[in-house]
């Protein structure tokens, strides 16, 4: 049986339907985002783990040295499940006239490798050494299918190979060349798997050992032991599964989802709780006489407390339960979309009851906490006083602004009324301001990501990298061969370049990176010091990306060993740290490098710059047609690839803007409704004395906008720091996410909030038009 109090609760909720709906919707959004992002995170984590297990994704990859000796040594080590050796080499490919620097990885013919097993998507696995398997990103881009042919450069000659199959690999779910080149364009990078004997012939033998061991508590210790053993066999470097470029990119991405699963729902639940608090407080205030009657007639204070907690519980449950269900269902769709988009070989979608229960619990706890304070006030009402209808009213006083700025006291009376209205209910004003702050945080965190990524791309590809393309030579080239490239119509400059895999070592750290040997007075690369100044490439020492400072524990002037596989180790010093958004590279001037090694270095590639307005595609064709050119990398293509990724960001920010606007609407609308409800008597009086409704609407609008305006600067500051914290957690040696928010973003965010504030007043202003003057002016308590 429905008790009278429950009936009263239901009718009160219906009577204030719009306000409680706003709370419910905000709660729904918060819980939905939580359940969707958290379950997506767990599903993806499980999918990655399952992929790693099913395809025996190497826990450790060892490069260089006696990898076969190492493999033989650790093959039977306790905890090691499988170990294999293979060859891996970056060589030019020519696919239908497009020359690129791809990667060839050796695999056994006939039977799959036991570590880093491939998933055959089309065709068959490698049955002869004359055929190759093409990694799916490359196959998709060039539309390669089994039976298609293209050419690979085997050190001295081009050889035509036939595609046996298209495969996916746990190592290239995200097609990264290495940690320094995490984002690649398919025109610049692709992977093939060829017969180990063929690749070994190019690479000069096996150069990698890949070790797989089942996950367990001993993993870290085992990894450390294996790395020690590898060093004993002369390994130049090694990386774990976590450090592997593709996996690191996916893990970074997952971490973003995990953060989203906490940060965004927190904002929404806080906003919903505050909207509920404002609404329930007002309800308790106006229902004091009713509460007095309830208590006077024998209802216990506990019953009253529970009754008013119900005003939080009901919208909380109404928002949280469907929110959790929708969120869990949405997570399935997001996981499917994500794994399809990234072509994750194994997709695991599971139902996690704990997420459902947790999401509902979060929503209910937030709404009950919001209702607790007003419910306690209700339960402590003094019946005799409440039934007299004497609601304590706040004494009038001049606003803080008038006290701080005395000339404001000479403002027209309506403006003074507006100013004082702002401070009339300080708690509500503060909550409305917090609503504005939370909304701006949501908007700026999302928008800040776009601005930052755009800014970083511009910095990397426009301000720092001055070359338009990198041309890779078929054989080491002389300086005159490099400068001959300028003869190609449209090329205005060409500089020799040598990029070598290198390991930087200091007594406290080791870091595997790419060592770029550039012309002493290079015009193809600009160097931004960490203090923001542009500097030239130092004559002495090695210049490092700023993340190397902490990774290696070094400062400018400190000694550092540079290990280059095949060339040996040289000792030099840290010349400078540079602030570059992508990767943590090492740069050294050509003359200094030659001094260090003691001989003239050839150029394996050339950095070229185009004339303005040149046809880039035609120039690429002209350059790659030259016999000495084996591969080509278009610097702007990468920029274009990243621009394409931005579409996803725009969609994400669009959704967040809608959510932020909804949240701001819910809070401002509720605060506005309560504000007007408290003013009905004044509004009716003003109407009775001849003030027209438009003027009253303007005054109330001004007052509410003023509250929003007070919240905006705080929101912009809080949003900035929230965005900084959110992005800062993504910064690593892979990317330096230093927050950049464009000035226009602050302006548009402000405009968005003001528009929402204006729109959210509309229902309240309509209520003013419906006010019954005779009824209100006669009431004792307004």
């Amino acid at each position: 049986m429905v008790t009278p109090l429950r009936r009263k609760l239901a009718r009160d909720l219906r009577r204030h339907g719009a306000q409680f709906t706003a709370i419910t919707v905000t709660m729904f959004l918060g819980v939905t985002i939580f359940a969707a992002s958290f379950d997506s995170f767990r599903n993806l984590q499980a999918s990655y783990a399952a992929t790693a297990t099913e395809f025996h994704f190497a826990n450790l990859t060892v490069n260089g040295g006696d990898v076969e000796g190492f493999a033989a040594s650790v093959g039977s080590a306790d905890g090691v499940d499988r170990v294999e050796t293979r060859s891996s080499v970056d060589i030019p490919f020519d696919v239908g006239g497009v020359k690129l620097l791809g990667r060839a990885i050796g695999v056994p013919v006939g039977d799959q490798a036991e570590v880093n097993t491939l998933k055959v998507l089309q065709g068959t696995y490698l049955e002869t050494s004359e055929t190759v398997l093409v990694e799916e990103h490359m196959a998709d881009h060039f539309r390669l299918t089994p039976g298609d042919r293209f050419e690979i450069f085997e050190g001295s000659d081009w050889r035509t190979v036939t595609v046996a199959g298209v495969v996916s690999s746990p190592e290239y779910i995200w097609p990264a060349r290495d940690r320094q080149e995490l984002i690649t364009s398919p025109d610049n990078f692709g992977v093939i798997f060829a017969a180990q004997s063929q690749v070994a012939a190019i690479a000069g033998g096996p150069n990698e050992a890949i070790v797989y061991y089942e996950q367990g508590e001993r993993n870290d210790a085992l990894t450390a032991e294996l790395v020690d053993v590898a060093q004993g066999f002369g390994a130049s470097s090694s990386y774990t599964r976590d450090e592997q470029a593709s996996n690191a990119a996916l893990v970074e991405d997952l971490r973003g989802l995990e953060e989203m699963a906490v940060f965004f729902p927190m904002l929404f639940l806080t906003a919903a709780a505050m909207a509920a608090y404002v609404m329930i407080s007002r309800l308790v205030h106006t229902q004091r006489p009713q509460i007095g009657v309830l208590l006077a007639n024998g209802f216990t204070r506990r019953q009253v407390l529970l009754h008013y907690l119900g005003y939080g519980f009901a919208p909380g449950l109404a928002g949280a339960l469907p929110g959790a269900i929708v969120g869990v269902l949405l997570a399935r769709a997001i996981t499917r979309l994500y794994t399809d988009l990234l072509a994750i070989p194994v997709t695991l979608i599971q139902f996690y009851p704990a997420t459902l229960v947790g999401a509902v619990a979060f929503g209910l706890v937030a709404s009950l906490l919001a209702a607790l304070a007003p419910a306690l006030v209700a339960s402590r009402v003094v019946p005799a006083q409440a039934m007299r209808g004497e609601t304590p009213i706040g004494g009038g006083k001049r606003s803080l602004l008038e006290r701080l700025i005395p000339p404001l006291r000479r403002l027209p009376v309506p403006w003074r009324m507006t100013l004082r209205g702002v401070g009339r209910n300080p708690r509500r004003t503060v909550y409305t301001m917090i609503g504005v702050v939370l909304s701006l945080m949501l908007i700026l965190v999302s928008w800040g990501m776009i601005d930052t990524v755009r800014h970083l791309m511009d910095r990397q590809f426009i301000e720092i990298q001055q070359e338009d393309a990198t041309v890779y030579f078929a054989a080491p080239a002389t300086t005159s061969e490099v400068t001959a490239l300028v003869d190609v119509d449209g090329v205005v400059a060409a500089e020799p370049s040598l990029t070598l895999p290198a390991v930087l070592r200091t007594p406290t750290g080791e870091y595997e990176t790419a060592l770029n040997v550039l012309a002493d007075d290079t015009a193809m690369h600009r160097f931004a010091a960490v203090d923001g100044r542009w500097i030239g490439l130092p004559d002495d020492g090695v210049t490092l990306g700023k993340a190397a400072r902490s990774l290696l524990g070094v400062e400018v002037g400190d000694p550092v060993s540079v290990v280059v596989p095949g060339l040996g180790t040289v000792e030099t010093t840290v010349a400078a740290f540079v602030d570059e958004p992508m990767g943590t590279m090492a740069y050294v001037a050509r003359s200094h490098a030659e001094t260090l090694v003691g001989f003239d270095l050839p150029a394996t590639s050339a950095l070229v710059a185009y004339a303005d307005g040149v046809d880039a595609a035609a120039l690429r064709a002209a350059l790659t047609a030259r016999p000495e050119v084996a591969a080509f990398e278009d610097a702007k293509a990468l920029y274009s690839v990243m621009q394409d990724f931005m579409v996803l960001f725009y969609a994400f920010v669009g959704v967040m803007l809608v959510f932020g606007a909804s949240m701001a609407f819910a809070l401002i609308f509720n605060a506005m409704s309560v504000n007007i409800a408290e003013r009905t008597r004044e509004v009716a009086t003003l109407l009775a004395v001849g003030t027209d409704r438009r003027r009253i609407s303007r005054l109330i609008t001004a007052e509410n906008l003023m509250v929003a305006l007070f919240g905006i600067p705080l929101g912009l500051v809080a949003g900035y720091f929230a965005a900084k914290a959110a992005l800062g957690s993504f910064s690593s040696d892979l990317f330096a996410f230093d927050l950049f928010v464009a000035p226009a973003t602050y302006v548009w965010s402000t405009v968005a909030i003001l528009v929402v504030a204006l729109v959210s007043q509309w229902p309240g202003l309509r209520a003013i038009r419906r006010i019954s003057i005779p009824k209100i002016v006669k009431e004792r308590v307004a």
Partner: protein, 234 residues
């Protein structure tokens, strides 16, 4: 300003639930009359006042103010009418709590005149609040708040003053003082006053008394020699 009501009906609700607050009321009065409308609760006193003040609409009949039918006015015209022609004094004062006494009066003065501030101060002095005009309502007694409300009604010099139970919330002495003030200022400015009360004793100070019962005028008489407010007792 002349007020004329002819066959006025005011009905709330419809069908079985319809309540006739006023039934076939006729009323006409010369300018400057101090009219007291008496009657028990629910007799239709306030409804009559609201109709004259154009804050409510008749269901049937006609109310003319200076020959203009209020029913024919749109919302803006009614607002203008209230702004220009009517001053309200309410039982519960209805002051804006965030404005001082002076600012409450200035707010209304500003609707109709340029020198509203000076005029507001002068009216507050006139009602005896020269030293309290910078206080907020919460800092004023009930009588002082009602004097502010009267000043607010008077400041725009309306030809008609509508007072709904102006002493209902006040003690005896304060109530008499407020009535005296109303009588004096209305006489000074030749304002027509309609004062609603359930207190029959107040009728003794009126030029004219109307008695309402169940929405009908049951008594309507003039008093040639009204007593002063100070002489009233109840």
């Amino acid at each position: 300003m002349t007020i004329k009501m002819a066959e006025v009906w005011k009905t709330f609700g419809e069908g079985h639930t319809a309540v006739h607050a006023l039934r076939d009321v006729d009323l006409a009065g010369p300018q400057g009359d101090f009219t007291v409308i008496l009657g028990p609760s629910g007799s239709g006193k306030t409804t009559l006042l609201n109709l004259v003040g154009a804050i409510d609409d008749v269901s049937r009949g006609r109310i003319e103010v200076n020959g203009v039918d209020l029913a024919a006015m749109d919302a803006d015209a009614k607002t203008a009418f209230r702004r220009e022609s009517v001053g309200f004094v309410f039982q519960f004062f209805n002051l804006i709590p965030t404005l001082t006494a002076l600012e409450n009066v200035e707010l209304v003065a500003g609707l109709t005149m340029d020198n509203g501030s000076d005029r507001a101060a002068a009216v507050l002095e006139d009602v005896g609040l020269a030293d309290r005009m910078h206080h907020f309502p919460a800092q004023l007694s009930g009588g002082e708040q009602q004097r502010v409300a009267i000043a607010r009604a008077l400041v725009k010099r309306p030809p008609v003053l509508l007072c709904d139970e102006p002493t209902g919330e006040l003690d005896f002495e304060t109530g008499r003082m407020i009535l005296s003030l109303l009588r004096r200022v209305a006489a000074e400015h030749r304002q027509t006053v309609l004062l609603v009360t359930h207190n029959a004793a107040i009728g003794d100070m009126a030029d004219r008394v109307l008695r309402l019962r169940s929405g009908e005028i049951v008594d309507d008489f003039r008093i040639d020699d009204p007593v002063s407010a100070e002489a009233l007792t109840w």
